[in-house]
Symmetry: C2
Subunit: 455 residues, 2 copies
């Protein structure tokens, strides 16, 4: 097969083809599956029914089945494992890297998890138990224990020999770590450096010291930042005694970065499910994930309406006040969302550290004053031209300016504080802050209108 | 130095320390810099002035200086290169991988770029020119030409020998590509497979065929999806004749994913600068990046106000209509943002393909009808209880439900269509869609109110 050929087929077509084959010709299906990369197979799975999925996974190698299962949406996995039966599932879990197996098991019901761990080969089970013990979002939770390490007193030739023996185990041997007799991490070299080095020199001469590593309890977002910053392929994970426990590889970091970006986007847009929507879920479940925020925010809007209700005397005297409600609600809301996005993104990429709180708030305040002033003046003039009442222009412009300054402050302050305190980040949701601003700006607008226009 | 020691210093402190050293004791500065990883040095740069930055970059190896410069915000780079002078800059560019050098040069003024290319060593300059010829957001623009490839008729031992000779050049030799006499890609093996294989067997027996590759013109987002999907460390780039041109490595993919996620977040929040804000920029420039959308949206709000103005007769008769303006504006706006985020994220991670337009819209419509109905009923009951007018409850509930359905549709339809047509994605901005919904929902609300309540 020539390179690139695979991309010619569309994933939808492939699903239909698979379904057809599974029904009509089991032999042709086997033939076809052998040519497919597990990740492509996983993409075609939504088009198949459960019986077909089980049949296919039974007919391919456990290692490939492991890869397919790991790529599937989690919602598909549980019934699939049930269909496969415990013995086959245990085989498949043994074929996965330990960190992936722990990930999968972590999402199964407790009883099922324990039963499976009882069947899996002892060594793998022990490793999975250890990984499960760390938090799923820490370095320990995403690391693999299959790394390449050598003792410091080996020569280059001996090291190559040692790696030949362990290479089948190690998920990635592109970095080789050097440890002392206490298993403490003291150095690192790349396979490339080993290959081009003098085979008789001890690895201590090839290795780099001052290895950059992360603690086993470090948050996965921080691990991702370190790997991205230094352009590493893997980063070693150590405990408080500097003992080497595992490595986090860049392909897992890719997943972390995708996951955290999705989390930020869902949070900013007020989707309740911070991990994003699965694409195979039924309508009512999708709706259930969006409704709580939506209805909650409607009641927030009701509070803003209540403010108007409180000032209904003013509104009855001057109905034109209502024409500017959208501007007073929308402008500050948008300004808050802009600040929020800039700060949330800065926190995610590491450009803003939690130690920079005051600096960032001061910076956003200056920006807020500037955009508040410009917007206020523009709208004051517009309102004056539209309605011909100078004082109305003043009220609209002034309340818009003040609201935008407050909005910019809130939009930067809230995510920073939440990040620092480690509270549930859903509170920093974009719609929550805009709704808060709706209420605030209505208070400012109608108070100013009452005291300036209706004295 | 023990692993992890480096993380003890805070980046702010380090900047101050560097500034101090640069002023007082150039020798100690040299000492200190030698211990620092280039990426850490880059993080400390904002705290230094231009003269100090130039001095430091002159005193370290060109390769390290290259790494520091590549990590800096682009706004800092141009004055820095001017300060360094053309000869030194050329040396530094030669020390960078070709793709990074092309990236940097691509952002310099045309005249300056040509002058630098004239000084750089001919081979490097040729490579950079070739990379610059591809679009910066294509596989060709982000690939490196420093890869490891061997002819198909070598043995394992000969391949190791060949790699020893080229390893210093190749950015990453963890995959070794196999080509035929026409330089067409026919296979791939990993260094691990080479090491554990029989040294006398020809590489044709070790290699995997059916290599997954991308075309040189493929969009970088698609390249990132392929690499993430297959968990590759690098993906080969070929032209239409299947000739191997280069590879895209996973560290560059990490940058692409960060960049695309930032772009999505900025777009959803209505920040005009799609690439995010640089953190060293002055207040007025930050404000200038946010103001155009903000003021544009204010005029959008004015249009919603105009709708109210059109119905001011209705409003004067029933001031209570104003109490629900926030609910009718906020609810549909939030629903639109939720849909938008789900679809935009789905497009980014590849879970939604552009071929799925109708499927996604149909799915979002069902979700929209469900959340519209629930929200509508909840608000109808609330409005009735609050104001005691059954018909008012009907108007509020009905217009909310209809608006939310439309909002969900718009929130999914607009990004999908834009993605398919390849138009400027800024149009899919969250605030743009919410403002559009403000106008639409006011029309629906006041039309229904006029025809039901005020007949």
């Amino acid at each position: 097969m020539m390179p690139g050929d695979r991309s010619i087929e569309r994933k939808g077509d492939r699903g239909i083809l698979l379904g057809d084959l599974a029904k009509k010709s089991p032999e042709k299906l086997q033939e076809y599956l052998k040519k497919l990369h597990p990740s492509d197979l996983a993409e075609a799975f939504p088009a198949l029914n459960l019986a077909q999925r089980v049949k296919i996974l039974r007919s391919i190698e456990p290692e490939d089945a492991a890869r397919v299962i790991f790529d599937l949406d989690r919602e598909m996995v549980v019934p699939l494992l049930e269909g496969l039966g415990r013995q086959r599932t245990a085989k498949i879990l043994e074929g996965m890297p330990g960190d992936d197996a722990a990930d999968l098991l972590g999402e199964l019901p407790r009883g099922e998890k324990e039963k499976l761990l009882g069947i899996i080969a002892a060594a793998e089970a022990r490793e999975i138990r250890m990984l499960l013990a760390y938090g799923t979002e820490t370095a320990g939770g995403i690391m693999t224990t299959e790394y390449a390490a050598v003792q410091k007193d080996l020569t280059g030739r001996q090291a190559i020999q040692a790696l030949r023996e362990t290479a089948r185990e190690a998920e990635i041997i592109y970095y080789v770590y050097v440890v002392n007799q206490n298993n403490q991490l003291i150095g690192v070299f790349s396979l490339r450096e080993l290959i081009i080095a003098d085979p008789e020199a001890p690895v201590e001469l090839i290795m780099h010291t001052g290895v950059i590593s992360v603690n086993v309890r470090t948050d996965q977002e921080e691990v991702a930042r370190q790997v991205a910053k230094y352009d590493f392929l893997a980063i070693p994970v150590i405990n408080d005694d500097h003992e080497l426990l595992g490595i986090v590889t860049i392909d897992d970091i890719l997943d972390v970065i995708e996951e955290e970006a999705t989390e930020d986007i869902m949070r900013l847009s007020g989707n309740i499910d911070l991990e994003g929507e699965e694409y195979e879920v039924r309508t009512w479940r999708r709706a259930a994930k969006r409704l709580p925020w939506l209805v909650g925010l409607l009641f927030g809007g009701l509070m803003a309406g209540n403010v108007i209700n409180f000032f209904s005397g003013a509104l009855e005297t001057m109905t034109i006040l209502a024409f500017f409600i959208h501007i007073l609600a929308g402008g500050p809301g948008n300004a808050a969302t802009q600040s929020l996005a800039v700060v949330v993104r800065g926190l995610a990429t590491g450009e803003v550290g939690s130690e920079d709180v005051l600096k960032v708030i001061w910076r956003e305040t200056r920006v807020g004053v500037l955009i508040g002033l410009v917007s206020g003046v523009v709208m004051a003039v517009t309102a004056y031209i539209w309605q011909g009442i100078p004082l109305l222009g003043l009220v609209v412009g002034l309340s818009l300016a003040v609201s935008i300054v407050i909005a910019t402050l809130l939009g930067s302050f809230i995510p920073l504080i939440i990040h620092r305190l480690g509270i549930d980040p859903a509170l920093a949701s974009g719609p929550f802050i805009t709704t808060l601003m709706d209420i605030t700006s209505m208070l400012i607008y109608f108070s100013l209108a009452s005291s300036i226009l209706l004295r």
